[in-house]
């Protein structure tokens, strides 16, 4: 952008949101040039600068967002909505320059309706702070992703995220009741006031998971839950992943646990030594059941019957209780995967009939690269199937950024294609972003037209988050 145009737009943006809320400072552009995606982090690690925006804007309301989009639409400047920047798919990266629209100044709780058990909040609030707000009043949103303190309300909605209690309380699209969204022509849209109706298809479904490519989410209403009277853990060792998966399916149908985490043989090897003090082969499962004490007692009885049927060994409650207390610990530096390793989470979801096929195919595909290993566990269980949270890890990736870039993308292509060929999807809860956009057509084929049609209508100038989500 030439200086003249830059100054023109800078002035107009300042007019729209207040001069103190627009920046062209290097520091503001730099901090918004790297999210949790491995590639921009690799650039920074190697001392390279990832692509930067020209402007960083902090609007304070839907009205201000609307003004920013109108300006951007007029000048045909890209807009990247940025929540917490904790996304792992490069979804918020300003790859083509333009405007970073950071939502975090929109961080207020607008309504707390104890009668309907709902809360309405601005989309830039850090999710963990919203949870604290609800906790103050004895409620919870029951959305506990590991990045609860890193990401925003809008960010989790934009990627249709998931938390550890999802098997009982659902994914964020099960928890969200309504949305306010600002679209490029400046209109402030509302979805229907409640999500269950026969008043046309769900508008919520259009915007949840749309990754900032259709508009900016500015407000959301969620369900509230009362804290359970008891939450009980129990761990089991199955002889095989197959037994574990079958038991998990039966548990969902009869007991509805809040947590089921089943680890593959490779992860079990390292976990089980911690739990029982020595190595033992098999598939380790950690389950939580919760609710009123008397119901939980009955659930526990049924749970033991089910796992007994599949020949599981009962490993007691200790492991689960400790895991719950320290569930975020594994995401802090020195305890989580970090540089110099190259790694990625190729999570996918499929039916019970297909999920093991995907596991085998993906493991084979990913491990066909020299020096790459694969681990997985299954969490988030539905009546029909479950999610596989798997990771590839390479200890000594190439130092050269371009070489590392290429290899990284090759591994991702191989892993995701293995899922697609066996009845899986590109991703379960981290989203598509720029990382996987190229694979959207492979999953959707001609159905992509639906997304492209919506994009064309809402964003004819293509300003919203270009090159993301494959649209």
């Amino acid at each position: 952008m030439n200086d003249f145009l830059l100054n023109t737009v800078y002035f107009e943006l300042g007019d729209a949101v207040g001069r103190e809320n627009v920046s062209i400072r290097t520091a503001d552009k730099l901090s918004h040039s790297m999210d949790y995606f491995w590639l921009p982090r690799m650039y920074v690690d190697r001392g390279e600068f990832p692509p930067e925006a020209d402007f960083v804007v902090y609007p304070g309301s839907a009205q201000e967002v609307s003004k920013v989009l109108v300006i951007a639409n007029y000048y045909k400047i890209p807009v990247y909505t940025w929540g917490g920047g904790s996304g792992s798919q490069g979804g918020a990266l300003p790859v083509k320059g333009g405007i970073i629209l950071d939502t975090k100044r929109m961080n207020k709780v607008l309504d707390f309706d104890e009668r309907s058990m709902t809360v309405t909040v601005e989309a830039g609030m850090i999710f963990g702070r919203l949870e604290w707000y609800a906790n103050e009043r004895g409620y919870s949103l029951m959305h506990y992703p590991s990045s609860i303190n890193c990401g925003t309300v809008g960010g989790f909605l934009a990627h249709n995220g998931i938390g550890v209690l999802s098997t009982k309380y659902g994914k964020i699209d099960d928890q969200c009741l309504s949305l306010e969204v600002v679209v490029p022509n400046g209109q402030i849209l509302q979805t229907s006031p409640v999500p269950k109706h026969s008043s046309g298809p769900s508008l919520l479904g259009v915007f949840i998971g749309s990754e900032g490519t259709f508009g900016v989410i500015t407000k959301a209403t969620f369900k509230l839950f009362k804290m359970p009277e008891v939450r009980k853990f129990r761990a089991f060792l199955f002889k095989s992943v197959t037994d574990g998966i079958n038991a998990g399916r039966d548990l969902v149908h009869r007991v509805k646990p809040s947590i089921i985490r089943l680890y593959d043989e490779a992860e079990t090897v390292s976990l089980i030594r911690k739990v029982i003090g020595f190595a033992k082969p098999g598939a380790f499962m950690n389950v939580a059941i919760e609710g009123d004490a008397d119901n939980v007692e009955l659930d526990e009885k049924h749970m033991l019957e089910i796992v007994g049927k599949y020949g599981a060994e009962d490993l007691g409650a200790d492991y689960g209780e400790k895991w719950w207390e320290s569930r975020l610990t594994f995401f802090y530096p020195d305890k989580c995967l970090d540089f110099p390793d190259m790694y990625g989470t190729i999570d996918t979801v499929s039916t019970y009939s297909n999920i093991e096929k995907i596991y085998d195919a993906m493991k084979a595909a990913v491990e066909s690269f020299e020096g790459v290993r694969f681990i997985a566990h299954f969490s988030h269980w539905y009546e029909w199937g479950c999610m596989m949270y798997d990771r590839f890890i390479m200890d000594n990736p190439p130092e050269d950024p371009d070489e590392a870039f290429r290899l990284h993308n090759e591994i991702w292509n191989a892993g995701v294609r293995a899922a697609l060929e066996n009845g899986g999807v590109i991703n379960d809860h981290h989203g598509v972003g720029i990382k996987l956009g190229r694979l959207m057509k492979e999953q959707y084929g001609p159905s992509m037209e639906v997304f492209e049609g919506i994009k064309e209508k809402l964003d004819p100038n293509g300003i919203m988050n270009p090159y993301k989500m494959g649209v």
Partner: protein
């Protein structure tokens, strides 16, 4: 130049978002740069590529050094290490932003961030000789909240103690350490302050401002600088007077909440003395979720001096949280916190010693 410790911490924080929800500056401003991750990323790239210091200077000062991030960090990293070192480097390189430079000038001229000469004549009666107890009120208290200092001294008087006020123009270097880092000039000033205080020959030094108490109790000993007295925080001293039955308290009714000063709770590990005082006054206490070691900093006086617009937001956000407890009064135990929080729209604010003085 950064130390090994600073570089190691930067390496951890540069790709980590885990503590951003507790950074009081980030929570209040919503700015991506206000938190450890962005600062570490900047410093990492500056080390690798150079030439960024001037661009990132402002961001390195937009931090209250409250250690909420460190307290949250499950690995035990402490971003204040690299932030202080980076500030020292900026000062050495003449790259301090102008508005911060003005505060540093004031500090060098007057020994306080306000650039005010504290008129110790006005406190002539309180500055006595040969007292066993010396009170270090600090510049924030004497300039911003003198009435609270008088209340505190009145309490000591009621407990039958012969106490003297120390000369507040002798700086503890709390502000200098925050703004300039651990440099020779700051240590020299600390040595001067220690010897001036020691010359009183008192047995106890009671410190009103937790920022000063951290210096006397932790930083001076770490630097090998001695204050020849037992150093006690004002809150724990007064809690002790209550336990010893030295104060006759008329029990009150009413509903309060308490704002833990960050340096008292986290650096000095003191959270219960103030609660003990509140309980002794008979108030019903409702806790904020962000309390004790999880407390949320209101901004402090150093940040308030060069970035008042940020501290205004921090204090308002904290006061709003206090009001959500349903309490009528927000009790503070630090002069800097009182100065920041008092006068807002959400809740009445009261200094703990003034409250106690009123009911003794």
């Amino acid at each position: 130049m950064l130390t090994y410790e600073a570089k190691k911490t930067i390496n951890a924080c540069r790709f980590c978002w885990m503590c951003r929800h507790v950074c009081p500056v980030g929570v209040a401003t919503g700015k991506e740069n206000n938190g450890p991750r962005a600062k570490a990323m900047f410093l990492y790239l500056n080390e690798k590529k150079g030439n960024l210091e001037g661009e990132i200077a402002q961001d390195l000062y937009e931090c209250a050094l409250c250690n909420a991030c460190a307290a949250n960090c499950e690995t035990g990293y402490e971003p204040a290490i690299y932030i202080r070192e980076a500030r020292a480097n900026l000062a050495a390189g003449g790259l301090v932003p102008e508005k911060v430079e003005r505060v540093i000038d004031a500090l060098e001229r007057t020994g306080n961030v306000y650039g005010a000469n504290i008129d110790m004549q006005a406190w002539e009666k309180e500055c006595k000789k040969d007292c066993g107890v010396l009170v270090y009120a600090g510049a924030a208290a004497l300039i911003k909240t003198p009435e609270n200092v008088r209340a505190f001294l009145s309490l000591l008087n009621k407990a039958g103690l012969n106490a003297s006020l120390a000369n507040a123009n002798c700086s503890s270097v709390a502000a200098e350490y925050d703004l300039l880092g651990d440099v020779a000039e700051v240590r020299e000033k600390a040595t001067k302050c220690a010897s001036e205080l020691s010359s009183h020959g008192a047995e106890k030094l009671i410190v009103l401002d937790p920022s000063d108490a951290v210096m006397f109790k932790q930083k001076y000993p770490a630097w090998g600088i001695r204050v020849d007295m037992e150093v006690v925080t004002a809150t724990s001293f007064v809690a002790g007077l209550i336990d010893a039955g030295k104060l006759n308290i008329r029990r009150q009714s009413g509903h309060v909440t308490y704002h833990d000063p960050c340096r008292l709770a986290r650096d000095l590990d003191e959270t219960e003395a103030a609660r003990h005082i509140i309980a002794a006054m008979g108030y019903e206490l409702s806790e904020m979720l962000e309390s004790r070691k999880l407390t949320r900093c209101c901004g402090g006086q150093v940040l308030a001096a060069h970035a008042p617009e940020i501290v205004e937001k921090m204090a308002a956000s904290r006061a709003e949280e206090a009001a959500r407890t349903g309490a009528e009064i927000l009790v503070t135990a630090c002069p800097g916190c009182f100065a920041n929080l008092d006068g807002g729209e959400y809740i009445e604010v009261a200094d703990i010693f003034s409250l106690l003085d009123r009911c003794t």
